[in-house]
Symmetry: C2
Subunit: 210 residues, 2 copies
Amino acid sequence: MINNVREGIIFVLSGPSGGGKTTLAQRALERHSNLSFSVSYTTRIPREGEVDGKDYRFVSETEFGRMVKDNYFVEYAKVHNNYYGTPLEQFGMAKSTGIDLLLDIDVQGARQIRKNYSLAVLCFILPSSFEILRERLVERGSDNDAEINRRLSKVRQEMRDVHKYDYIIVNDDLDKTADTLSSIIVSARCEANRVSDIVWRKFFGEASKP
Amino acid sequence: MINNVREGIIFVLSGPSGGGKTTLAQRALERHSNLSFSVSYTTRIPREGEVDGKDYRFVSETEFGRMVKDNYFVEYAKVHNNYYGTPLEQFGMAKSTGIDLLLDIDVQGARQIRKNYSLAVLCFILPSSFEILRERLVERGSDNDAEINRRLSKVRQEMRDVHKYDYIIVNDDLDKTADTLSSIIVSARCEANRVSDIVWRKFFGEASKP
């Protein structure tokens, strides 16, 4: 099929809470048109300031279970006793419209995405050290000690898979890290395996075949 | 060996003359410290304005032949009846110091580099269309008709290998293209397969092992 629009790229952000993922995702969405955020479904209770439909879609466990049965999710996982799921519908849209999709999901989810979308771009974002991460989680004050320790031990576990990601961004300066993420988005958009056929046709004219 | 400096990255720019490679290389070198240009050796006659030791090192065919025998080159190739070679010495320096290396070489050379340096980042730069390329070569006035036709037929041939590159950059706006090249450099510097061990050690502290 001759098509001069490349497929939308799936960008995945993973990394510990407290690493700055949410802010970085916002910055990326402000800076790049043609990029849309995939809002995950979750059974967890909203944190202060979180908006239903913007940060997450908050649903009951019963609802979530039904959606799983209906194959509504590309991937879903249980994290810290709550379920999180990525809806499939936007993936089809990304493919046909060429609008890129930004996901904020954990390591289990990223693994599933990679399996189904080999060209997805996986980014792992983390603060400069384990100690700084601990401090941030304590300062944030949204978790008790047990919860913080659980999060930290999950980070240790997740870090084992960090080499499976495409990019690792150490967020020790928010502006600089936002620039780096932006660079990853720009460069992914001219990867040869996404654009070579399109570029070829544009270069030689529509009639030519790669 | 515990080493907290990643190896220098080999960035390769290829693409037809008239595509803007030389200017883009200059822009990249101005913008990025920690990036140095690999000056190729050639047996061709200097064009107007070209400086020995900056654009190329101009040598005789006898000298070039001796260097080939002495294994002085990472790769060398005959292009349009002239020899071009990339000196090996800077590659060792890039590896040990972590200073990235920018090469402006043709498709044959890029293929050799890829074979020996699988993590090299290969970028193919081309103007928006074959017609525009033809116009630019005519306007430049440095080649006669036969030479221009030879260059154009080489481009047709080279374009067959374009999908083997990592990135394809269509240079229809010099500033935008310079930004894109810059993004590729920034993103390559946080590719997981280059930095995951280093990041891991920095994150958990020197003593820990990936």
